[in-house]
């Protein structure tokens, strides 16, 4: 039972396409697991559509229609068939599987000490997303992040000063939150964590306080 869903501000920013790729991986993975967040995300997509309907039309350049029609002809139909987004069921949701190139057993871990391992996923450079493996009973090594940190639990659970987080739960912390997550329970804990040291992202989601919209 997921207790910690994504706040509306994050879902709105994901819907608008204003988040760095690394954070999008975490949001897409969490939404795959949380019906509550999925429903709210669909609301924001609908709002985006409604906003699109209300904005003024923009004059297109000369020859734009011809260019578009030419593009339609050029694009091979087989190139745009959508690949199924439901892969084989595993520990990782589909969007994460496509970044890892497989499931848990395919992760190329690197040890960072105390039995803790990590694997950084390849995204563009605006932010970083990594898988973190923490043996049960071990605390996350001290890590500093200048900006925002968004952590999704994939397996096991961790506990910190804020609360208890299990599979599907997501915790958001900014640099003011000093927390020491400790893996708890019988299983080792595996998390997906995005960080952004840049001020830009931090100010995008200043204090995830006010719950926004739940139409």
């Amino acid at each position: 039972m997921i207790k910690h869903h994504l706040p509306d501000e994050v879902l709105m920013a994901y819907s608008a396409g204003n988040l760095p790729e690394a954070f999008n991986v975490v949001v897409a993975s969490h939404v795959s697991m949380s019906d509550d967040s999925r429903v709210r995300l669909e609301t924001y997509d609908a709002l985006g559509g409604a906003v699109l309907d209300t904005v003024d039309a923009v004059e297109m350049g000369e020859g734009s229609l011809e260019a578009t029609l030419a593009m339609i002809d050029r694009t091979a139909v087989d190139a745009i068939t959508t690949e199924p987004r439901t892969l084989k069921p595993g520990v990782f949701p589909a969007p994460l599987q496509s970044y890892v190139g497989g499931d848990l057993e395919d992760v190329k871990w690197r040890s960072v000490g105390m039995g803790v391992k990590q694997a950084i996923l390849k995204t563009n450079k605006s932010a970083t997303v990594r898988l973190i493996y923490i043996p049960s009973g071990v605390a996350m090594p001290d890590h500093s992040h200048g900006g925002m940190e968004m952590t999704l639990v994939l397996k096991g659970a961790f506990e910190d000063e804020v609360d208890y987080f299990a599979r599907g739960d997501v915790e958001i912390a900014d640099q003011d939150v000093h927390h020491t997550p400790v893996a708890v329970g019988s299983e080792d804990c595996i998390c997906l964590s995005a960080t952004d040291a840049r001020l830009k992202f931090r100010s995008l989601l200043p204090r995830l306080a006010q719950p926004f919209l739940q139409i």
Binding site: G17, E21, N24, S32, L47, G49, V58, S64, M71
Partner: protein, 140 residues
């Protein structure tokens, strides 16, 4: 177009989005999203693709998958809801609507909106929140 991109990039982006809409028209399911929502998501993905040169990871599809034939009742309910949403949006005070629009199409964070509009960040956040609360109220 509204995201502050250069004109030629924006044109390219729009043309590609139109071409994608054309090719994917058969995948559109009117019981799952309104046309506006569908156009919005495709245009947004194209924008991320062209302007930011990054992939957009999408959530997993729900296990029951696309239905063979959309349910007409669902289609009608969805159409009505999206009409109500558009009306509610149009009825917002201009200041609130403008900020919601910027949040989607300005390609800006709230603090960047603050710089552009000269409004304090707190004002922007409370106006967006008010707008969303009003919409939620209208949709009840």
């Amino acid at each position: 177009m509204k995201s502050g991109a250069s004109e030629s990039l924006a044109e390219e982006c729009t043309q590609e989005a139109m071409a994608t809409l054309w090719h994917k028209a058969h995948l559109f399911d009117p019981s799952r999203a309104s046309v506006s929502t569908w156009v919005f998501t495709i245009a947004r993905n194209k924008k991320i693709d062209v302007l930011r040169k990054q992939q957009r990871p999408e959530p997993e599809d729900l296990p029951w998958g696309p239905e063979a034939e959309p349910d007409q009742a669902d289609v009608i309910v969805l159409q009505e809801e999206s009409e109500r949403l558009s009306k509610a949006l149009a009825a917002l005070p201009e200041k609130q609507r403008d900020l919601v629009e910027k949040a989607y199409f300005g390609d800006m964070s709230h603090s960047e909106i603050a710089t552009v509009t000269g409004l304090p960040l707190g004002t922007i956040k409370s106006r967006i929140r008010l707008a969303l609360e009003r919409l939620r109220h209208e949709m009840k």
